[in-house]
Symmetry: C2
Subunit: 549 residues, 2 copies
């Protein structure tokens, strides 16, 4: 599948290569309030120059080439307001073994995966669980892998990360003699042995390092390969923009090189991390503002995650009395970081899950805005997941954007109530409340924590149900967004959250011609059919960066 | 309380009596897409002539008197798209005894109620339940009422309608000697007697007729009094329009008389009933089209109610195998009525609760539109409560309006699941699905079945919760409407459903100046506070028809 994506990316369709054309026979949702729907639009030099009825647009551009969209639905290029582009690439450099039902299936997936992995590199994978394979739950062995991979090292992480499974080539690469008694396991680890004391290939916890340390350190080729995979996946998903929630400064030149080479089919609004504030501001007093890479914001953390009870709460976890989670730093330290960022003109985008963390961030923003003027404004809370009802209206008062990920609600719903109890759930994943208070919501996926497709987030936002339509009525269903709101959250409001709303986010004359062609009208199909929507093509600056076969 | 309403109605505020004025210092939700919010508007000769910022509107009308709205929120005059105006009036001519906790409280309520009842008429009430009064559950007696009402007949229906409670004056008026042995009860009834055989004042079932037959038949004075009460209640509730779902032709002259006398502070879109089609069309080939009374539609019934299992379903009731409810008439008979109405130019508004009934109506509309051209179009289904998912998209295809009552969902939610089961609930009260399919929703209350205030419907529409906020997340919460949609459903879309959208339904220049002043911003307050919203004043044609003290 990856191979075909690469091909799609490389193909330059005849029409899109033209300087100008008129797209016709489409059902266009513009996300432009003055003209919410249209039938046709004209593109010239990578920008929309006309949007309207087919008669009007074709009449005004009679001799321009036509792009017949076959009655399909068109929406603005989708923007993921919170995701990890390089993280996705790294994940895509590992085979996905989740859900395998046998070692045979593991090998099958690995063989297919290895087709697209450069010769000479390790085959990495993750997600196996021997309990899913029937049988007695015994660990697999290196011999299960050796027939298919006699020479290339293979290293596969268990679904929980607590064990690794190597083939014989990986043992050799790690300096472990497969035919001798296995080395001793370090403290906190175990090396699984066969009846003759030799290593079976499975290493538990601390012993994983015996193999993992031998994996070559990532080099630029690794990152370039990861990036290429991530970009293929985002284009296929209909994404024309991403807000990358935290990148080391060292990665930025790679992005710029890809962009210069015409190999960066996305607009990346990349957030630096706090250690980067001073050096970045020294080197880039005006930020980076290129068509495909904009850097003018910083990603900060206030707390951890809800699932692991790392989210900082105002009261005890309902399922762990005495535990209120943890803030990453005290109030003064957070405020100092926020002030430093604002002073240097950066937008501040702070991760906050628990209600205590969200309050800490709102307090820090309020104080720092008072003290510094707030820099560029439009500061954001990433996730904004659990809010005290008392804090909800502060988003509007402070002009803070809620950057939320709808699929987190449907992923967390099986256990979020255990952590929080009913009363706190009123302010959790409370999109309808936020929107009704007047707050702006930018929507994202948090990939690779969740899957890449923004259509999954769209579906979760408007149903609050899993893919099987459960629970009936949605989980805290009255907090749904409308489809128009969800589309806006993944387009124009995401663009606003990156100061890009004058350039992208809607289909209107003057803006860059970023748009997505969809297989069906996701604004009117029954909710059960939303997830059947396919991305037919993704256009960036008027040119196709992805086309389905 | 009723007395103070009458006073409010009679008061003509100094400003509103003026021909023109500028309303300032307001938070105006216009329901006009081109200018969704405004701060001020100018009114002249009963119509809006300017809407916009305070600077613009006051600048353009510098010497006009000001109506300072104190920063309050203004919305278009609210329109109840399905209610029973005269039914409300008749209900208001009876004292409400629901929830009384003692006979003393019954008497207290009756005394207060009697203040506003014309001398010489019976005091009527309903809703008592002796099981709520503590004690042994014994029936009350006429003597409980005689001290307060020695001379005026009193007749009070039990909460279930299965018993009536008279005072001694009522017995005398009915020709029953209170000091003699009680008359024999008719078959299917019982007359409660004291230890000497005299009537205690309580008559059960068929025996109720012994007293009830003596109640004077309603005359025009009775209907006029009922109407006056209903109109006071609707003005107080912020209603400037109502669609009266079924009126006998005989009532229309009373409405016209009230309107001519300036005593009809509402625009009534009154639906006639099928027996009236032929005579009405003979007499009024163009319908009735007056500013306060429009008649050009007919109310038809397809089935009964869900609670009593009278709704016609495609499959058995979940809690009554073998029972699918009942259609009021066969398909041919319904279609004949629909065709007759369309031929004479009437809009057809058909009551349909069950999925079988809704399908019958959609089929009848489709066939009749094919055969006749459909008359004026914009045909409606009243309630549209339980829909097969297969029929849902037919509303858009046929241009049929869904006239729904949000409070029915929250009233029915405790038991609707028992009747229908989970699968059918997917298409029940499915406002979000309907709206997303592109269908237009006109919202109403069905008063006096539900309470009058459209704010209750607004709250139910946007929360799908009861007044206590239960269930958390709403009942099938992902079917909520947004506040903007709910407001539109009670204003512009209700106006559209009555062919009045060019005259009323939004605050924009040229339209009649119907508007409501609210105590708080119901579009942004937390959902828990929506029901705290008070109507401060109701304006019709630019003049106040209700002002709170």
């Amino acid at each position: 599948m990856l191979r075909s994506l690469f091909l799609a990316l490389l193909l330059v369709p005849a029409l899109a290569a033209q300087d100008r054309y008129v797209a016709v026979n489409a059902r266009v949702y513009t996300v432009d309030e003055t003209t919410p729907t249209a039938e046709a639009f004209a593109v010239e030099d990578g920008r929309f120059v006309a949007v309207g009825t087919e008669a009007d647009v074709t009449g005004a551009h009679a001799d321009w080439p036509r792009l017949d969209l076959g009655g399909r639905t068109v929406v603005p290029g989708l923007i993921d307001a919170h995701a990890h582009l390089m993280g996705l690439g790294e994940a895509l450099l590992q085979a996905d073994l989740v859900g395998t039902t046998s070692t045979d299936e593991v090998v099958e997936r690995l063989v297919a995966f290895a087709e697209d992995v450069p010769e000479g590199t390790w085959i990495m994978g993750r997600g196996w669980d021997q309990n899913d394979w029937g049988g007695d739950g015994a660990f697999p062995t290196r011999q299960d892998l050796d027939a298919a991979f006699p020479d290339r090292p293979v290293w596969l992480g268990r679904v929980d990360g607590h064990a690794g499974w190597a083939n014989t080539a990986a043992l050799r690469a790690a300096g472990i003699d497969p035919d001798a008694p296995a080395p001793a396991a370090p403290e906190g680890g175990a090396v699984i042995r066969d009846d003759q004391g030799r290593p079976t290939g499975v290493f538990v916890d601390a012993a994983e390092a015996l193999v993992a340390n031998a994996i070559p350190a990532p080099d630029e080729a690794y990152y370039a390969e990861a990036l290429e995979r991530a970009l293929a996946a985002t284009a296929e998903a209909g994404l024309t923009g991403v807000h990358e929630a935290g990148v080391p400064l060292a990665v930025l030149p790679l992005y710029q090189r890809f962009a210069a080479e015409g190999r960066f089919p996305i607009r990346n609004y990349a957030m630096i991390t706090p250690p980067g504030i001073a050096p970045f501001c020294d080197r880039n007093p005006d930020g980076i503002d290129e068509p495909r890479l904009v850097v003018r914001s910083v990603k900060v953390y206030s707390d951890g995650a809800l699932g692991s009870r790392g989210a900082a709460l105002l009261a005890d976890y309902a399922d762990d009395p005495g535990n209120r989670g943890l803030l990453f730093q005290d109030d003064d330290a957070l405020e100092a970081t926020v002030r430093a960022a604002m002073v240097c003109g950066l937008q501040v985008n702070t991760h906050a899950i628990g209600d205590r963390a969200n309050r800490q961030v709102l307090d820090a923003y309020a104080a720092a805005i008072d003290a510094t003027g707030g820099g560029p404004g439009r500061h954001r809370i990433e996730h904004a997941q659990i809010l005290s009802l008392d804090d909800l209206e502060r988003f509007v008062a402070l002009g803070v954007i809620a950057s939320v990920q709808p699929t987190h609600a449907t992923s967390d719903m099986p256990w979020a109530g255990d952590r929080l109890g009913d009363e706190r759930l009123k302010g959790a994943y409370a999109w309808r409340r936020l929107s009704d208070s007047g707050a702006r919501l930018a929507l994202g996926s948090d990939f690779p924590v969740e899957r890449v497709s923004p259509l999954l987030g769209f579906y979760a936002a408007v149903t609050r149900q899993d893919a099987d339509g459960m629970p009936l009525g949605g989980w805290f269903g009255n907090q749904v967004l409308t489809r128009a709101e969800a589309l806006r959250g993944f387009t124009l409001d995401a663009a606003y959250a990156a100061f890009m709303e004058d350039e992208v986010g809607s289909i209107e004359p003057g803006k860059r011609a970023d748009f997505v062609v969809l297989s069906q009208d996701l604004m009117t199909v029954p909710p059960e059919e939303i997830l059947d929507t396919d991305v037919v093509a993704t256009y960036l600056d008027g040119a196709a960066v992805y086309e389905a076969d």
